[in-house]
């Protein structure tokens, strides 16, 4: 390979990076209390060894390796190693329950699975007999596995040392394999988020990934010395796109947090320059700030509120492309000095140059908040099938109600029914083993059907309404996005999740709301309300009053027909383990509607409470059955006079 040629695959890019950056840090993992580092050279060596080891175990070109675990160096090493051999990796969300794992492995027919630890091994052993294709389980955290003597269990370092031995015998073999890689080869198989159906497996090529990275890097000029914290599941296309595609293409370091619960702290230690996260992360950050500010003393609160007003005003002017007056600039500078600098430091966002949100719509209030602080937060749009994002805000052209304009290389349009279509080098080639789905997702001339409804505004910005099938037609005939109402509700620190119903078959708008256990719990303690469990707290009358005020606030901004007429506080948190959310924590509306049919009936009938029997599954698999009375809270008279 000549130095000038542009690498076509991730392994080729890794090799180029190792040559170019050498001893610079490629991966950092917080472990044993410090950030243990892997240089580009070491990264390449470990990928090579693991790849050769895999080869010795029988991994063939075109094979798939499934990876199941938290973000660790071994995760990405396994991925790139498989790719170096001409194979593809498929990430499985680490918190998936056994049935989901079985479904995906069965679908992708992986022969090798790389898992993190005993917890994941146990999941796989549960279903081992049903996994016909799998030959080996390779684990990289040995704790608790001492007495597991199945011969298909292999330790990660053993594979690496096998590979090292092979490299000593055939030093050129690995390079030859890498050279064989082509841009069109499948690099990863990504599970679609599956809000409406079981996940499908999208085939994403090296070309898809790298062109996506090139597109994004053309918009925002990432540099090798930038830091990135990889804390969202690597099974998610968004994390693949940032960590694997951009990270590899640009050569910036990936930092893996110590434990899921230390992410916030580790994020602060690193102080990343680039961050890509779905709306819930930004919403959580906002509610953390809100709660902490409420607990701060009056001086701090007053100064914070003043600064935020200044910041928001400046953000609004920026959105409107207007310039600030001298005094506004001075005020903003003061607000930055007095509040924002430190606030961002607390959040770990002090060095952020570019922050992105994608995957779902982010509420405008959250968006304004971060821009008020001076975080360059940009909305992007895309989906698994387009390798993450294909539409993005530009630095000087941000409008929070839109998702921006097409990335370099991408074409975006809408068809006559308003469905958004995308074409370009980042678009996938089809679903694995699912020709029907591929046919319906791809048009004959290569457009990806996104299934989302949208339109372009006068500046050419794309505005996404919602999943096409979710858009509701209200009783007065207007079309309305339930997500818009849900986001307004979720702006409240007390609301964790909301599911709004209202279109088509339903005569008026209602909401099923999940309270935020931590924040409402704290509020309850401050208001001398004793509670025991989530269920208990959710049904406290004064908690209902609290949420009622939040709903009133939401309703105030909504047109009459879109106002919430009744709501209820769900007795349990929506959970991905119960299939109520996707693994990326998107609400599965249809499933919820059918699962809580009694509640929906009660919301649309003449009741003040609904009784529900529900089965709760604990982490260890035990279940418990609860019989709960859930109060229905009326807000406004319902149209048609069905009074309650």
């Amino acid at each position: 390979m000549t130095a000038r040629s542009v690498p076509a695959t991730l392994p080729q890019q890794l090799r180029a990076n190792a040559a170019q950056f050498g001893d610079a840090m490629a991966l950092r993992e917080k472990r044993f209390g410090i950030w243990l580092s892997i240089t580009w050279t070491e990264y390449l060596t470990r990928v090579r060894n693991f790849a050769l080891g895999l080869h010795r175990m029988g991994f063939q070109r075109g094979d798939r390796i499934a990876i199941l675990g938290d973000n660790r160096p071994e995760w990405v090493i396994a991925e790139v190693a498989a790719q170096a051999l001409g194979g593809a990796s498929i990430g499985i969300y680490q918190d998936s329950v056994v049935s989901e794992v079985a479904y995906i492995i069965d679908l992708c027919q992986a022969r090798f699975i790389v898992v993190e630890d005993q917890e994941q091994v146990d999941k796989l052993l549960d279903i081992w007999d049903d996994l016909e294709t799998v030959e080996s389980l390779i684990y990289f955290d040995p704790r608790g596995l001492r007495h597991y003597d199945a011969d298909f269990l292999v330790a990660f370092p053993d594979v690496e040392s096998d590979g090292a031995a092979m490299h000593a015998e055939q030093p050129a073999w690995f390079d030859e394999q890498v050279n064989l890689g082509k841009s069109d080869d499948t690099a990863i198989i990504s599970t679609t988020s599956g809000t409406t159906s079981k996940p499908k497996l999208a085939l994403i090529s090296h070309g898809n990934l790298l062109s996506m990275a090139d597109g994004l890097a053309a918009v925002d000029h990432f540099k090798p010395q930038h830091e990135f914290v990889s804390f969202l599941p690597l099974a998610w296309i968004g994390e693949q796109m940032m960590s694997m595609a951009c990270g590899m293409r640009i050569g910036f370091a990936l930092n893996f947090p110590e434990e899921p619960e230390t992410v916030q702290h580790d994020l602060r230690e690193i102080g990343p320059h680039i961050m890509f996260a779905p709306p819930r992360i930004w919403e959580n950050m906002l509610s953390t700030v809100q709660v902490k500010i409420e607990d701060a003393d009056r001086v701090k609160r007053t100064i914070f509120n003043w600064a935020l007003t200044i910041g928001r005003r400046a953000a609004d002017l920026k959105f409107a492309n207007k310039s600030l007056t001298f005094w506004q600039r001075a005020g903003l500078a003061a607000a930055r000095l007095l509040v924002f600098h430190n606030l961002l430091d607390q959040l770990g966002l002090r060095r952020i140059k570019w922050a992105y949100t994608a995957g779902a719509a982010l509420g405008p209030d959250v968006f304004r908040f971060f821009h008020g602080l001076g975080v360059n937060l940009k909305q992007g749009y895309g989906q698994t099938e387009t390798t993450g994002i294909c539409v993005i805000h530009r630095d000087d052209d941000i409008k929070f109600q839109t998702v921006g304009t097409a990335m370099p290389g991408a074409e975006v349009t809408t068809d006559n029914r308003g469905e958004i279509l995308v074409r370009g080098p980042m678009c996938f080639s089809g679903y694995f083993n699912n020709p029907e789905a591929t046919t319906s997702a791809l048009t004959e001339d290569g457009w990806v059907r996104t299934g989302d409804a949208g339109y372009f505004d006068e500046d050419g910005h794309l505005i996404v309404i919602d999943r096409a099938k979710d858009v509701m037609t209200l009783h007065d005939g207007t079309r309305f996005s339930p997500q818009f109402i849900e986001n307004k509700l979720k702006f409240s620190q007390y609301v964790r999740e909301a599911v709004v119903f209202g279109g088509d078959d339903f005569p008026y708008v209602t909401a099923i709301i999940n309270i935020d256990f931590g924040n409402v719990g704290k509020w309850a303690e401050n208001h001398k309300t004793a509670y025991t469990t989530y269920t208990d707290l959710s049904q406290k009358p004064n908690v209902y009053d609290l949420i009622r005020r939040e709903v009133e606030r939401t309703n105030a901004d909504l047109p009459g027909a879109a106002r919430i007429r009744k709501f209820l506080l769900l007795h349990k948190e929506l959970d991905a383990d119960d299939a109520e959310l996707t693994r990326t924590r998107k609400v599965r509306r249809g499933y919820i509607a059918s699962r809580y049919q009694e509640l929906i009936d009660a919301l649309y009938g003449d009741y003040d409470e609904a009784r529900i029997t529900s089965t709760i599954t604990y982490q260890d698999g035990r279940t418990q059955t609860l019989d709960v009375a859930i109060r229905i809270e009326p807000m406004e008279p319902v149209p048609g006079g069905v009074a309650s």
């Binding site: 209390g33 410090i34 950030w35 690193i270 102080g271 961002l344 430091d345 966002l349 002090r350």
Partner: protein, 362 residues
């Protein structure tokens, strides 16, 4: 304000540093600069006051090692100071030892005797130990008053005080400490810096941790393998080594020393320093020492401003001042314990936290 994001450690050595943030380092440089500047900007009476503060700070750090860090209450600080002072004085007066050697020797003698005084701690706890150290105080006081070799003659009169010759170094009369406040400051301040750093270091290691463990939960410490006997005596020795240095400096600063400077009320004054400054912290010892030494002077100055210049007013001022000083001393102790039992150090930390956590409160 604090900037902590972007500071991450890739080695334990860097993770275990004392001052990782820029702000902390800037503060450290400022303090160092202040120490260097002092002799250039203050007048001679202030310099003497500063010197007293420095000695008190060293003594308070020593006491804090024992009381604040190790939890062994001592009412015998005066005795430890006396041992240091008289060892140093006697070495100079009788053996003509140059002062640096006398100083060091005094520290070692103090450590040895301190270990001896600490022996009761092996059997006694809490108040019983406190009164046992009071015994040391009384016994040492008695020795000072009644043992002839440590009495001296001043201006031809026999007194209880020991005269300190103030030996010159290298035969150079300018290198005497008891007539050169600036030189004394340089020596004492340097010692303070070394003592402060060494003490801080000590509590980053297993020995210091063992001390703190004994304070927090002695039975658990013992079960974890800490030899209580050895470490309690060691704490007494380390403490009295440092206090001994302070005592020796007291001797080196003066031309004569007598028992009043090492009485029970001195012990109490030092306890007040570490309580007001903050138990179990080096910085607290320094704040407390400064506060307790400077407070009476401040009261005197304020009183002077409020008093007339006629003879009657002055005599009234002189009558009232000591009582006001003592009363304020008592009020400060009581107020500290009731309002902020962790002392000035805690108040300062709260202030720093207020801005470090800005705009949050936690």
């Amino acid at each position: 304000m604090a900037t902590q994001s972007g500071i991450y450690h890739q080695t334990y050595a860097s993770d275990m540093q004392l001052r990782p943030t820029t702000m902390q380092r800037v503060r450290l440089v400022l303090v160092a600069a202040l120490l260097v500047i002092i002799p250039f900007v203050v007048d001679s009476s202030t310099q003497r006051l500063v010197n007293t503060v420095v000695i008190a700070a060293i003594g308070a750090i020593g006491l804090n090692v024992l009381v604040g860090y190790t939890g062994q209450i001592s009412l015998g600080q005066g005795a430890f100071l006396a041992i240091g002072a008289y060892s140093c004085g006697l070495l100079q007066a009788y053996l003509n030892v140059p002062w640096p050697i006398a100083l060091l020797a005094a520290a070692f003698i103090s450590a040895l005797l301190g270990g001896l005084i600490g022996l009761p701690s092996l059997r006694l706890k809490g108040l019983y130990l406190a009164v046992a150290t009071l015994a040391a105080q009384q016994i040492v006081d008695w020795v000072i008053i009644n043992w002839d070799p440590i009495d001296g003659e001043i201006n031809g009169r026999a007194t209880d005080a020991l005269r300190i010759p103030g030996n010159a170094l290298f035969g150079n009369a300018d290198l005497r400490l008891n007539n050169n406040d600036t030189l004394f400051y340089i020596v004492a301040a340097a010692i303070l810096v070394v003592v402060a750093i060494a003490t801080t270091n000590l509590f980053r290691t297993h020995i210091g941790r063992a001390f703190v463990a004994i304070r927090d939960q002695d039975i658990a410490a013992e079960v974890m393998g800490v030899n209580l006997h050895r470490y309690k005596v060691l704490a007494f020795m380390v403490s009295s080594f440092i206090v001994g240095i302070a005592g020796a400096l007291l001797a080196l600063q003066s031309t004569a020393i007598s028992f009043e400077r090492f009485s029970l009320s001195v012990s109490i004054e030092y306890l007040a320093m570490i309580i007001i400054g903050g138990l179990g912290t080096v910085s607290g010892s320094i704040y407390g020492a400064t506060f307790i030494v400077v407070l009476p002077e401040v009261l005197r100055s304020i009183g002077r401003m409020l008093t007339g210049t006629d003879a009657a007013s002055l005599s009234e001022f002189n009558r009232v001042l000591p009582f006001v000083q003592e009363g304020v001393f008592g009020v400060v102790i009581v107020a500290t314990l009731i309002i902020e039992p962790e002392g000035i150090q805690r108040i300062w930390r709260n202030i720093k936290d207020y801005f470090r956590l800005w705009p949050f409160s936690y």
